[in-house]
């Protein structure tokens, strides 16, 4: 098992772990990754990965516009909004 760089992982996951929790999660991840490492014992060289268990074909619907939500429906849960937009801090300088 390779070392776990908890700072890198939490940054990728957009989580800002408090300093005192970093070691806690790092150790927890190490334990779990070590536990799942038993998979390395199985030879899977010629096995295809399984993505969808029933492997049935996706059914295709008619390409017809259906209206589910109004703009108001979509924006009603917005933490911050301005007119018909979600509002966030300035992104472009």
């Amino acid at each position: 098992m390779s070392d776990i760089d908890i700072k890198r992982i939490s940054n990728l996951a957009k989580l800002n772990l408090p300093k005192e929790k970093e070691t806690f999660y790092e150790n927890s991840l190490k334990d779990i990754i070590q536990w799942v490492d038993n998979l390395k014992k199985i030879d899977t060289d010629i096995i295809e990965p399984l993505h969808n268990v029933t492997e049935t074909t996706v059914s295709i619907r008619t390409d017809k516009v259906e209206k589910y939500n109004s703009v108001e429906d979509v924006l009603i849960n917005a933490p911050d909004r301005a007119q018909n937009f979600f509002k966030v801090p300035k992104v472009v300088e």
Binding site: I9, A13, L15, L29, L39, I42, V53, D80
Partner: protein, 480 residues
């Protein structure tokens, strides 16, 4: 003895009870919420209009299939206009503007929603202790420690507890690695996880999309068939929804099998189990052998790898699914100087410990340099697990296992994640293979707590699975 859906419908039809009287019977228990099994109970008058409509349909002699039946709904299903939180702080103020496919079918069939059931946060847990709204208490007590509170199992722990306490006739849960079957077993109820692709995932807050499946938690097998009839339908909005012809699961449920049945018992599942649990299997074997049912020993070669495979695939899918919670469009937003700070502060504050852990595991196994070694490897082993089941189903019609390795444990007793993950050792392989499984109560442990058996069927064999479960239920005659 609690009444079944067919008994309740009969009482409503012959006017020995009105829809309102029935509703109040359950609502009076639900509103007390004494086991914390609900995150939200509807207000006093919420269902008034629907109760009237339901009563008039009974009066005209044309009731809908689930007319007037009070249901609990796991707080993972989007319900239009009713707060839906996934038991997470990050969604604690979220009010969906649309109805999930499954709950829409239940509305169409005349049922009445009594509230949203507590669950583990984003359905990640096996004890309902990870909920932002606090743990759910199992209504069942140990005879040796009657003052102690036990977990109801999870993640659909609130669903199971609410049915067990009599706050609803049935509840709709979701099962990713055992989240319907395990709490049903620990609360002495029936829990059905249908074949993956049976019930649409549209409008269910996603945890692990290749595993999540909706299903009922009920007092009896026949009730599970009634609910399945309502929710098991093809839906174009879920690309993994199967469009095969569905059975009527209630009709002929009580008729005998016209062919002989062979059930496999996996020897490798029974290694090192306590005698209370082994006894459930022995007892089931004994009572079913009278019915032209043959039992044979079977052995899986992949059991030792199932939990590892699950704890790579499920967190990987979760880390991807939960990337959408960023504080911009809905849910919690924690302030920040720029967009990135909003993301970081919102997600760090909004997710609880177990969800954070699984996002981190998922991110790790999907990250550059580790993807092939972990995620792709697990997907390959998943195929071997599926093949292992298919090999066994060439010889047998069903597989019988315990649902859980132990009875319910005390709230707060299991602190390390791996020992918690072990609770799902018998339910996870079925989930990885996408097969249908049903848990039904089989007896009590020496402490007087419920124990359950799991019957696993082949793909889309829910009708026969329910028939066999009904026979087992009758024969085991589980009455305290």
């Amino acid at each position: 003895m609690k009444k079944s859906i067919s008994q309740i419908k009969k009482s409503l039809q012959d006017k020995s009870i009105s829809v309102n009287e029935l509703y109040q019977e359950y609502f009076s228990i639900a509103k007390k919420n004494s086991h914390n099994s609900f995150n939200f109970v509807v207000n006093e008058n919420y269902n008034d209009h629907n109760i009237q409509l339901s009563q008039s349909r009974y009066d005209s002699g044309k009731p809908l299939p689930l007319d007037g039946i009070p249901l609990g709904i796991k707080d993972l299903f989007c319900t239009k206009g009713i707060r839906t939180t996934a038991s997470s702080k990050i969604l604690s103020n979220f009010i969906p503007q649309y109805e999930s496919f499954v709950t829409q079918q239940l509305i169409n069939d005349g049922s009445l929603f009594i509230g949203k059931n507590n669950c583990d946060e984003f359905a990640m847990g096996s004890s309902n202790e990870t909920s932002y709204f606090g743990p759910v208490i199992n209504p069942r007590k140990s005879k040796n420690a009657p003052n102690d509170n036990f977990v109801p199992g999870g993640s659909s722990g609130g669903s199971a507890a609410s049915v067990a306490e009599g706050a609803c006739v049935a509840s709709i849960g979701t099962d990713t690695g055992g989240s319907i079957r395990q709490p049903a077993s620990l609360c002495g109820l029936v829990g059905l996880k249908p074949t993956f692709g049976s019930c649409s995932r549209w409008g269910i807050i996603a945890f692990a999309s290749s595993l999540d499946q909706a299903g009922p938690i009920t007092n009896c097998v026949e009730d599970a068939a009634y609910i399945l009839n309502s929710i098991n339908k093809h839906d174009f909005n879920d690309s993994t929804s199967s469009n095969h012809q569905r059975d009527d699961y209630v009709t002929n449920l009580h008729t005998k099998f016209d062919q002989s049945i062979k059930i496999g018992i996996p020897k490798d599942y029974l290694k090192d189990l306590n005698s209370d649990v082994i006894q459930q299997i022995e007892k089931t074997k004994k009572v079913l052998s009278k019915h032209n049912i043959e039992f044979v020993d079977v052995e899986f070669t992949t059991t030792d790898y199932a939990l590892s495979t699950y704890y790579i695939i499920a967190p990987a899918e979760a880390s991807s699914n939960l990337a959408r919670y960023d504080g911009i469009r809905y849910g919690l937003r924690e302030d920040g100087k720029n967009l990135d700070e909003i993301y970081l502060n919102t997600r760090t504050s909004g997710f609880g410990e177990e969800v954070t852990r699984r996002i981190l595991i998922g991110t790790y196994v999907l990250s550059a340099g580790y993807y092939d070694a972990y995620y792709r490897k697990a997907q390959k082993v998943r195929r071997l697990i599926k093949n292992d089941f298919q090999r066994i189903f060439q010889d047998v019609d069903f597989i019988l296992t315990p649902t859980t390795p132990n009875e319910a444990f005390k709230i707060g007793d299991k602190l390390d994640p791996i020992s918690m993950y072990m609770n799902d050792v018998f339910t996870v392989p079925t989930s990885l293979a996408g097969l249908p499984g049903i848990s039904l109560p089989s007896g009590l442990s020496s402490n007087g707590l419920p124990l359950g058996i799991q019957i696993i069927g082949n793909y889309f064999q829910e009708k026969n699975l329910l028939k066999l479960a009904l026979l087992a239920e009758k024969e085991l005659a589980f009455n305290e």
